[in-house]
């Protein structure tokens, strides 16, 4: 009997289909656009099959080459990974539906190939249990992202793509150096194995490889000051790609950092510095977003800010903090993806990315504007939406211990939330309550572009009003992560 609940299928299926696009493109022509939908639909099935297994056992492990984990590459999905894999696959599926209508520019089939590879790479990065494999997945992700950022081939796209490429390449090299240092030190590449063997190392010995890996992943994960590519690249990419980049790619890189920090290095000594990174990222992202006139650029900066927020929450180091971080990750992924999708539809209709040109959208594109509002509310953390619960958790986790530092942290976080609220409300004012200067014919975006956003908003709403299962799940995921033994023992202890 074929067992569908195998995490490797999450990677193998879309890869197979991506290659299939290349094969079928000469014959199917435009028809290839349905292939990613099928691929991620199948993936979604696999994820749903995985959910009960992971919930029961806490972790699902799959081997390659029929050889036990430390010796061959393995793939492991524990609660935290499942969390993100679910989001990644879901976004991949929905955005590929969005692409059916959205991508009109040639060469469309190449776009679909790269798009499939991008989402696959992200999934890969999340599920892999091997450090070098993570590097490879990182490269799959970033190289497809480079290509997609340059998809429009215009001035902005070329500049943004090149900058992204240079920074991403440096990041990849640094990550590789870090991985290699760990190999030199331990003689193995399996995460669990390294985690086991690195315990005998001193703080000092662990610092340099950690710094390299952190920097490498941090570049992709948009941590300040490594995130300068992001505000250029996200707007330059087609909106559907931006929603994947913003929604899950940075999150996946942060996941990598979390995995490395907690599971491999068990590195609580550096946590104060990580808090610094989180807060700086948050501050710079949100303040810069406040000044943007280009909506996609604004959203990109907001992504930086949100990344900073959940990275900050993670770096609190407590189970509660991590729980908050995971909730915020989920919230950010769903909401930001929705925002980019909706904004893509609006730009599609209005033909401008300037916020001031969105006047009167609230009346002409009612549904889009409504979806935008809900997603923005959730992102800002206004009740009763899902973002509120995650923000609540983050603040509660911070103030578990009340001292000068935590108060200062909270003040910064909340002040930045205020700025975020300020610019989102400004956009909404323009959209809903400002009359358009000239009467232009603006029609609602096509239905196929709205359906993904609607689905995401429905998910956000369901989570908003029924958050308990997710919250409990996040708590368990955080506890598993902090406990470490679940992961390490089940990977090393065979199947």
């Amino acid at each position: 009997m074929v067992n569908i609940a195998n995490p490797i299928l999450l990677i193998a299926i879309p890869l197979l289909f991506a290659f299939l696009i290349a094969v079928l493109a000469p014959w199917l022509k435009k028809g290839v656009k349905y292939i990613p939908v099928i691929a991620f639909g199948l993936n979604l099935l696999v994820v749903f099959e995985l959910i009960p297994d992971v919930l029961d056992n806490g972790i699902v492990i799959a081997t390659t080459a029929g050889i036990k984990p430390p010796f061959a590459i393995n793939v492991a999905v524990d609660r935290l990974s499942l969390f993100l894999v679910l989001i990644a696959t879901l976004l991949g599926f929905l955005v590929s539906i969005y692409n059916l209508v959205y991508i009109k520019e040639e060469p469309a089939e190449k776009f679909h190939i790269l798009f499939t590879l991008l989402v696959t790479g992200i999934t890969w990065m999340i599920v892999t249990g091997d450090l070098f494999n993570m590097f490879v997945a990182f490269e799959v992700t970033s190289i497809s992202a480079f290509g997609l950022v340059g998809f429009h081939r215009d001035k902005d796209a070329a500049e943004a793509g090149f900058k992204y490429l240079v920074m991403g390449s440096i990041g990849a090299s640094l990550l590789l150096i870090g991985v290699v240092m760990l190999y030199a030190a331990t003689g193995t590449l399996n995460m669990a194995d390294i985690a086991e063997k690195i315990m005998r190392f001193t703080f000092k010995q662990k610092l340099l490889p950690y710094a390299f890996i952190f920097t490498g992943l941090g570049i992709e994960g948009a941590l300040f000051p490594l995130n300068a590519w992001l505000p250029d690249a996200h707007p330059a990419a087609p909106s559907s790609v931006s929603s994947i980049l913003s929604g899950i790619m940075t999150t996946a890189a942060i996941y990598g950092i979390i995995r490395v920090t907690v599971t491999i290095f068990n590195y609580y000594q550096v946590i104060l510095f990580l808090i610094l990174f989180g807060l700086l990222t948050l501050m710079f992202g949100e303040t810069a977003a406040f000044f943007q006139k280009d909506i996609k650029r604004m959203l990109a900066y907001s992504t930086i800010g949100q990344t900073g927020l959940f990275f900050y929450a993670f770096s609190l180091g407590s189970i509660n903090g991590m729980q908050g971080a995971f909730l915020q990750m989920m919230n950010h992924s769903l909401a930001k993806a929705t925002l980019f999708l909706v904004v893509g539809g609006i730009i599609f209709s209005v033909g401008s990315r300037n916020i001031d040109d969105f006047a009167g959208i609230g009346r002409k594109m009612k549904l889009s504007a409504f979806l935008f509002a809900i997603a923005a509310f959730s992102l800002m953390g206004l009740p009763p939406f899902f973002g509120f619960w995650s923000k609540l958790k983050i603040i509660f986790a911070t103030l578990e211990r009340v001292n000068v530092y935590t108060i200062a942290f909270v003040v910064i976080v909340l002040f930045m939330s205020l700025i975020e609220a300020a610019y989102f409300f400004r956009v909404m004012q323009v959209m809903f309550f400002k009359e358009a200067k000239e009467e232009k014919e603006v029609r609602e975006a096509p239905a196929w572009m709205l359906i993904p956003a609607i689905t995401l908003v429905v998910i956000i709403l369901v989570l908003s009003f029924y958050p308990t299962p997710v919250i409990n799940f996040a708590h368990k995921a955080a506890a598993d992560l902090v406990g470490r033994s679940v992961y390490i023992n089940s990977v090393l202890g065979g199947l």
Partner: protein, 237 residues
């Protein structure tokens, strides 16, 4: 100038710290942990004489799948960036007359390059070399052809069909192993054969041949895109 010196010092600090780190793991010392296992069990587990191939394709075959994917993505990305509408392409094409010696010489050499490349990737599991090396050698053969006949182009859609099929072969073999035997991706389900024979090591040669085709067609595609760009839009002024 101050910038240069400052960053020189910074980079010096980084190099120093790296040296400091690696001082604990000196050059030439045996640091193997999993490596030892591979060397010990290579012959009975994979049957490939070349342990590097065994590691690349079997133990770490999943990495290689990723690597192939990266190359695929890069080739696609280059194709996107250099995408020119078909009609524009034809308009801009122009005739170039390269050296006679180059033209004739490349015609003679090209089959040999192909043969050499194929040899390398077919014997990937026995001798040094493999799909990547062989594939890139074949691609450099294509490069030679481009130098000789700048006006001509490869049929890109056929090239992409080749890469697609090669990729499907790789992923499909992996899935075959997963679904039929062992419940493990990339399971080596074919008989291992005898060491140092061409038909040995199970699925490894097949994968390496697929990779060879894939790498060759992808690099050829990249070169093709680059060259066409250079020629089609009248590059050098």
């Amino acid at each position: 100038m101050i910038r240069k010196i400052t960053y020189g010092i910074f980079l010096g600090i980084i190099v120093l710290s790296l040296i400091l780190f690696f001082a604990a793991f000196p050059f030439g010392k045996n640091k193997m942990a999993v490596g030892k296992y591979y060397l010990k069990n290579d012959i009975n587990q994979t049957g490939a004489a070349n342990v590097v191939t065994a590691v690349t394709l079997d133990y770490r075959g999943f990495d290689t799948l990723g690597e192939v994917t990266v190359l695929f993505a890069a080739a696609t990305g280059v194709a996107i960036l250099f995408y020119v509408l078909e009609e524009d392409k034809k308009k801009r094409e122009r005739q170039v007359y390269p050296n006679f010696v180059v033209r004739v010489g490349s015609r003679i050499i090209f089959p040999f390059i192909l043969l050499f490349g194929s040899y390398i990737f077919i014997h990937g599991h026995l001798t040094p070399g493999g799909g990547f090396q062989g594939g890139s050698i074949i691609a450099s053969g294509f490069l030679l052809l481009y130098l000789a006949y700048p006006g001509e182009r490869v049929n890109r859609s056929k090239l992409s069909v080749v890469e697609g099929i090669a990729g499907i072969t790789f992923a499909g073999l992996g899935l075959w192993g997963l679904f039929t035997q062992g419940n493990s991706f990339l399971f080596n389900f074919l008989p291992k054969g005898q060491l140092n024979m061409i038909f040995s090591a199970g699925i490894l040669p097949i994968i390496y041949i697929a990779i060879g085709f894939k790498v060759a067609s992808e690099f050829a595609g990249i070169v093709d895109d680059m060259m066409c760009e250079a020629v089609c839009s009248g590059g050098e002024k």
